[in-house]
């Protein structure tokens, strides 16, 4: 369908810089600095904060009128220097905004110039992510930022530390690259699954220990929890790399090309066949058998499928989500006999080559409202509440932001047990 309208009505898109913030929030000791005007960072803090119920550390270069006239290049240099001096972060992560990309600030040369003026900042890792609004949605900003994180930090020896000795009997490490469709709860579950195959994991970014909503937190504007800088340095030692979500494929390929690490892209972790495929890959790569606990979970899921096959089948479902999550949840529902009659993605996605079991269009939530009247269920973020309210169709909250239901960031909808939970959540709304 070609776009009928010239405006976005009830957008489901979040800004790419919000996705960038999310990726940076999974890296320990990082200070995120948004190169833009103050509102850009203020809206992101508010949006993420009402989703995660967590404080969101995000700094800004606070651009004003004169920087729009003369460019924000100097502001960026100053911003990095001030942030480094005031907050002493281990890493600084910078993302651009629509404003700075429009007038074309060159972030790379700003950093080089700053380091010439301030040799003491030479060793401070600075990750630059280019996230203008027009590249897509949250997913694209997150994806680019994970790629920048890997390109800047992976394998870089930290001069301050002696390189770690690797014991020969130590468990082998694998790298996990979760996409932004996975909640902190999902990532936690994912790590447990991979651990159970005898691996240690390095997760980039690791939201399961930074945005998981735990009670301990110091008064600091830097990220606490998340991937450690030294874990980035150890990435080249990994025996394998798994990337999750189609958007993460390029990041995984980077590790493969640069360090020769075997890479496997897992588009979805929700659903029986998706989980089967992942566990078979893990078993093959590790040379281990699938743990009994997971097989037990599988058998429970099978029983649920049998018990509820009638309620699950034949429903018309409308989904509006970011591409990777849309693919994961949509293919799981098709697998149990539901029909995805409306599928709207927030952005184009990474030109996916997968044969999806339903057709997807890019669309906003006003389009959802116009097209989902005949559906039995809407799956969308909390902003879908207007469409669901008008149409009087039940609404399963998923994606970001979810601000009017408790516990979404802690939800686990991956693996056999998570798939079972997702189907229960769906069934309870279908009534």
């Amino acid at each position: 369908m070609t776009k009928q309208r010239h405006y976005d009505g009830n957008p489901q898109k979040n800004s790419p810089a919000l996705g960038a913030t999310l990726a940076f929030l999974g890296v320990n000791g990082l200070l995120a600095l948004l190169h833009g005007s103050q509102g850009c960072s203020s809206f992101i803090r508010l949006q993420l904060s009402r989703h995660y119920k967590e404080p969101i550390p995000l700094n800004s270069t606070a651009l004003l009128e004169e920087s729009v006239i003369f460019g924000g290049w100097d502001h960026l240099k100053k911003g990095i220097a001030v942030a480094a001096d005031k907050y002493k972060p281990q890493i600084i992560g910078v993302m651009s905004s629509g404003l700075t990309e429009t007038y074309g600030d060159d972030m790379v040369s700003a950093l080089v110039s700053l380091r010439t003026e301030r040799p003491d900042l030479e060793d401070l890792p600075v990750v630059l992510a280019s996230t203008p609004d027009y590249i897509g949605s949250m997913q694209e900003g997150y994806q680019r930022t994970v790629e920048s994180l890997l390109m800047t930090l992976a394998g870089q020896p930290n001069k301050a530390k002696v390189l770690r000795r690797v014991d020969s009997d130590e468990a082998p490490s694998v790298a996990l690259l979760p996409g932004c469709h996975l909640t902190p709860g999902d990532v936690d579950e994912l790590k447990e699954i991979v651990n159970s195959f005898g691996y240690k994991v390095i997760t980039v970014p690791d939201l399961s220990i930074s945005l998981d909503g735990h009670a301990e937190l110091e008064a600091a504007p830097v990220v606490q929890g998340g991937t450690l800088l030294e874990e980035f340095q150890r990435l080249p030692e990994c025996k394998a790399c798994f990337s999750f979500g189609l958007s993460m494929e390029k990041a995984g390929e980077f590790l493969k090309k640069t360090y020769g690490i075997p890479h496997f892209n897992i588009p979805s972790l929700t659903g029986l066949t998706a989980t089967d495929k992942f566990l078979l890959t893990l078993a093959k790569v590790s040379g281990k058998t699938i743990p009994e606990r997971l097989l037990r979970q599988r058998s429970r899921l099978l029983d649920t499928l049998a018990d509820y096959h009638d309620q699950l089948g034949g429903h018309q479902i409308a989904i509006a989500l970011e591409m990777d999550l849309l693919y994961s949840l949509g293919s799981c529902l098709v697998e149990v006999g539901s029909e995805i009659s409306v599928a709207l993605s927030a952005s184009q996605g990474s030109g996916n080559t997968l044969a999806l079991p339903f057709s997807v269009e890019v669309g906003d939530l006003e389009t959802l409202e116009e097209s989902a009247a005949h559906c039995d269920l809407i799956i969308a973020n909390s902003n879908g509440r207007q469409a669901a309210g008008v149409l009087k169709v039940p609404h399963l909250r998923a994606g970001l932001p979810v601000f009017d239901r408790a516990g979404y960031p802690q939800k686990r909808w991956i693996g056999y047990e998570g798939t079972q939970q997702f189907l229960f959540d769906t069934l309870n709304l279908l009534g």
Binding site: D8, Q47, Y52, A62, V82, L99, N383
Partner: protein, 455 residues
């Protein structure tokens, strides 16, 4: 093309040099982490509560996509204002300009949503690429039967206060006084300016006005209908609620329409009563004044009786107060009413005058919060160890990590705190927060240290 800043009356205010005074005239340093917002945000705070109009943001997705329908301003009628509408400026628009897209969007929205008017917000990117939003709005208006109003508020103009003021200018220039029909003054009628009906605050005050025979022409802009705003010049009095950022609007209305204005607040018993009395005085109606004096006395007694139980539980608790801008000084007296001591107070977006007023009301021993970043805020909490924190939602989740009771008084809250009824709700909610059993669990060490097992 931008609103002339000298018109905004910033120049006659010298920067307040007091520590902790809001940095209204000062620029935030890049990287310092001031956590303020932008002019676009300030404009939308003021204008977006207007319920039966469409609000179209001419900008990239970061402006509207991250922020639509995220404030608690409530409506008794149309829900159109909650729609997120944006031109979603993309790369091609940046290269070729977004004017055609903007115009088509305006026409499409008019056809689909049938708004009473369309407000079009310029943003950083649309201004930078040189889109003439004023011109496009004029062109679109010529093709439509409704006003199409441009709001020139790119974020880089400054912080929220400037955006508030720009929005006030827009209302003055393009909305107020444009109603067809009578311009006759309506006796005993008022406008409440700077009241956004967050969580239904306005509805807590309406019964009192009604009981006294005062007619609300419109709030600016809580639960406001466009046609009522157009007739706002028919009111007999403007009442500026808490915030100073719309002072220009009331001053100009005084000059053009001869409507006097007073300041007031509906937070807390004392301020509510005083405001009602001041309204009666300003309306210059002796009958009304007599009625009001009797009414507020009765309401005060009733309210104090109702909250006496809460006061007993809250008395002598030590609080930290930190607000975004509005209701700062009002909140000081509200807490005092409940017998709560303020250990430290601060504000981020208030005007210097509001700040001074807050300072005067506070105990001289109370500390002024100077570093308004999250880090500074947390440091004060760690130093002062208060029994409770009353602040805007922005700091809520951070404050929870300090395991201290926290009450959100900003736009994220669910309950109305204005008027006498609001005071009861406030006391009730605050008591529930402070006395919640969860804080005890949060502070208990686990596993217990040796020797403490039998506790």
């Amino acid at each position: 093309m931008f609103t002339n800043l000298t018109k905004l009356d910033l120049k006659d205010k010298k920067c307040m040099s007091d520590a902790g005074s809001p940095k209204l005239c000062m620029k935030a340093l890049p990287g310092e982490g001031a956590e303020r917002s932008c002019a676009y945000d300030g404009a939308r705070v003021v204008l977006m509560p207007i319920t039966d109009v469409a609000h179209l943001v001419h900008g990239p997705i970061a402006c509207a996509g991250n922020s639509w329908d995220n404030r608690g301003a409530r409506s008794s009628g149309s829900q159109l204002y909650r729609r997120g509408l944006t031109t979603d400026i993309m790369e091609n628009d940046v290269i070729y300009g977004g004017e055609i897209k903007l115009k088509k969007s305006i026409l499409e929205i008019a056809a689909k949503h049938d708004p009473k008017a369309i407000f079009v917000y310029a943003t950083c990117v649309s201004s930078l690429i040189g889109d003439d939003v004023d011109k496009i709005c004029r062109e679109a208006e010529a093709e439509l039967t409704i006003p199409v109003i441009s709001v020139n508020c790119p974020g880089f103009l400054g912080d929220k206060n400037i955006g508030n003021r720009i929005a006030g200018e827009v209302l003055y220039d393009r909305v107020i006084g444009t109603a067809k029909g009578s311009d006759e003054r309506i006796p005993l009628s008022i406008n409440l300016i700077g009241e956004y009906n967050i969580a239904g605050d306005l509805w807590g005050v309406l019964p009192d006005l009604k009981n006294l025979g005062i007619r609300l022409q419109t709030a600016i802009t809580g639960d406001a209908k466009f046609d009522d705003l157009r007739s706002a010049h028919r009111a007999s009095l403007n009442v500026l609620i808490c915030s100073k950022s719309l002072t220009n609007l009331v001053r100009k209305m005084e000059i053009r329409y001869g409507i006097p204005f007073i300041e007031g607040s509906f937070y807390g018993i004392q301020d509510t009563s005083q405001t009602l009395i001041n309204i009666a005085k300003a309306l210059n109606d002796l009958d009304l004044l007599d009625r009001t004096l009797v009414y507020v006395k009765k309401k005060e007694e009733e309210t104090r009786e109702t909250i006496a139980g809460y006061k007993k539980l809250l008395e002598n608790k030590q609080a930290i107060l930190f607000t975004g801008g509005v209701k700062t000084w009002s909140m000081v007296s509200t807490l005092a009413e409940l017998g709560i001591n303020i250990l430290a107070g601060g504000t981020q977006n208030s005007t210097p005058e509001d700040f001074q007023r807050m300072k005067k009301l506070m105990d001289p021993a109370a500390q002024i919060i100077e570093d308004t970043s999250s880090a500074g805020f947390l440091k004060i909490i760690a130093e002062k160890k208060p029994d409770l924190i009353v602040a805007g939602g922005k700091t809520k989740y951070l404050a929870h990590k300090t395991r201290t009771p926290f009450l959100d008084i900003n736009h994220g809250r669910k309950l109305p705190y204005a008027g006498y009824q609001g005071m009861i709700t406030f006391a009730e909610t605050l008591t529930r927060t402070v006395l919640s059993p969860v804080w005890g669990h949060l502070k208990r060490e686990f596993p217990p240290r040796e020797g403490e097992q039998d506790d």
